[in-house]
Symmetry: C2
Amino acid sequence: MSLETVSSNLSFGGVQGVYRHASSATGTDMTFSVYVPPHAPGAKLPVVWYLSGLTCTHANVTEKGEYRRACAELGLIFVAPDTSPRGEGVADDPEGAYDFGLGAGFYVDATQPPFAQHYRMWSYVTEELPALVAEHFPVDMGAQAITGHSMGGHGALTIGLTFPDRFRSISAFAPIVAPGQVPWGRKALPGYLGDDKAAWRRHDAVALIEDGARVKELLVDQGEADGFLAEQLKPSLLVAACADAGIDLTLTMRPGYDHSYYFISTFMEDHLRWHAERLRG
Amino acid sequence: MSLETVSSNLSFGGVQGVYRHASSATGTDMTFSVYVPPHAPGAKLPVVWYLSGLTCTHANVTEKGEYRRACAELGLIFVAPDTSPRGEGVADDPEGAYDFGLGAGFYVDATQPPFAQHYRMWSYVTEELPALVAEHFPVDMGAQAITGHSMGGHGALTIGLTFPDRFRSISAFAPIVAPGQVPWGRKALPGYLGDDKAAWRRHDAVALIEDGARVKELLVDQGEADGFLAEQLKPSLLVAACADAGIDLTLTMRPGYDHSYYFISTFMEDHLRWHAERLRG
C-alpha cells in the first residue's frame, strides 16, 4: 500500500508527519498523522492510537494535543486518523449537522444507504490503517494502546473492548460511553446501522461490557465543566457497567475543565505515561 | 479600559483567556490572549510577552505553542498580541501579500498613508497593551520578559533593545534580525515608514546595536532547515553585531528544524525556563 507524505516536520527530536493514501476500506483518500519519536536505528516502538471527536480531522490533536514532548520522552509512536471519509461523492448529514456524516463517522461500518458506500471507519481504523502503519513505520504491533476524545473516546473504548488481546491499554478523554442511550448516538447509530439493535450494542461501550466484553482496566478523564457531560457523555453509566463486570475503571473527574483541547492537552501526558507503563511491561 | 472576554478555558490548572478591546492606539478592536497559571490569591506574577510572526494572530501560539505546561510550573503569565490591526477600513497590502499589511504590522508605528491611520503596533504593544494587562491581570510589571517568532522575534529584539530597563530578559525564535538588509524588511520598513532611514534603524535589531543599544544578553534559537534562514533571517548579522557590542548572545542552531510551530514548541520550554531564571532573580 502506498503512502503520500503531505508534510513532515522535525519536532521534539522526532518526525511529525501527515500522510494521505487511497483507502480501500472507505473508497476515498484518507489523511492521518503519525509522530515517530527519536529512536535507535532498527528499533520497533510501541504505538498509541488516538481517535478524534466530532468535527475533527487528524489535525486537531496534531496541532493542539501537546503529545509530542511526552511521546519523545517515552518512545511512543502516536497515530491520529481522520473521523470520517471525505471528498466528492461522500454523503453527509442532510442538514449538514456537525454530529452525523462528515467529521462524525462514529467508528462504525455503515449498513444504511447512502452511508454504507464510504462510511467504513471501523474497518479502516481496525484493519486497513494498522496494516498500513505496520508497513511504513517502525511500530511494534505487539505493543499497542488506544485512546481518544468524545466520539473518539467511544471509538477507543469500543475497539479496545472488541480486541482485548490487541491493546495492552485503553483510555479515553470525555468519551461517549453509551451512544445507545444519548442523543448523539441515538441519531448516529440508526443513521449508520438502521434498526439493528444488536449492531448498536456492538458500538456502545457500556452495552459491550453488559454483553460480556472484558478488559482488566480502563482510564478515563472527564471535565466537570464539560457542556456535554450530563446529556451526551454520562460517565456514571460506565462506572456502573465496570463495577458489575469487575473492570478496574479509573475515572477522574476534573473540576473546571471543559470539552476542549485545553482539557485534553492538560491530561495528555498523564495518559501517555499510563499507557507507556503498560506498553513497556 | 474595558475588556471583553472572548473565551476562557481552564488548562494546566490555569486560565487561558482570549480578550477583545477597543484600542485607542490602532483605532480598531484588538484581540489578544493571556494565560494566567495557577497562583496564590493576591500574588503578582512575572509576565512573558510573545510576539507572533507574519500571517499569525494571537491564536497560532495559543493553540500550537505548547507553553502552558511550563508556564504553570514556572508561574509565568504569557501574553500573545495580534500582529496587526484588523477590521473594516484597515488598509492592506495592495496585492494582498502575506508579508505586508494585515498580519504583518512589523511592530512599528506607520507614518505613511494609508497605513498611518491604524498600523500603530509599536504604541499598542509597548504602551497600551501593557497598561491594559497591568490593570486586568495579576502581573508584576517589574518582572517582564519578551520573546517572539520571526517577525515577532524582530519585534521582541527591537522592543527589548529599546527598553532595556523594562525587560529582564529577551529571546527569540528564528527572528528577522536585520530587516533593513532583507527582502521582508526592505518592503515593510519603507512601506510603513517611508524614506526615513533613521526610523528604519530604530526598527532593526542589528542597527539598534550598531547605534549603541545595549543589553546584557540575548537568547536565540534558529532551525537550520528553516526555508527563510539564508534570505530573510541571517542570524550571522546578529552574531557580528553582538560580538562588536559585547552582548552575550546565545544562538543555538538546530539541525533539521524548520520555521514552524513544530520548531517553536520544541524549544518553548527551554526559553521559558531561561526567562524564569532571570525573572525570579
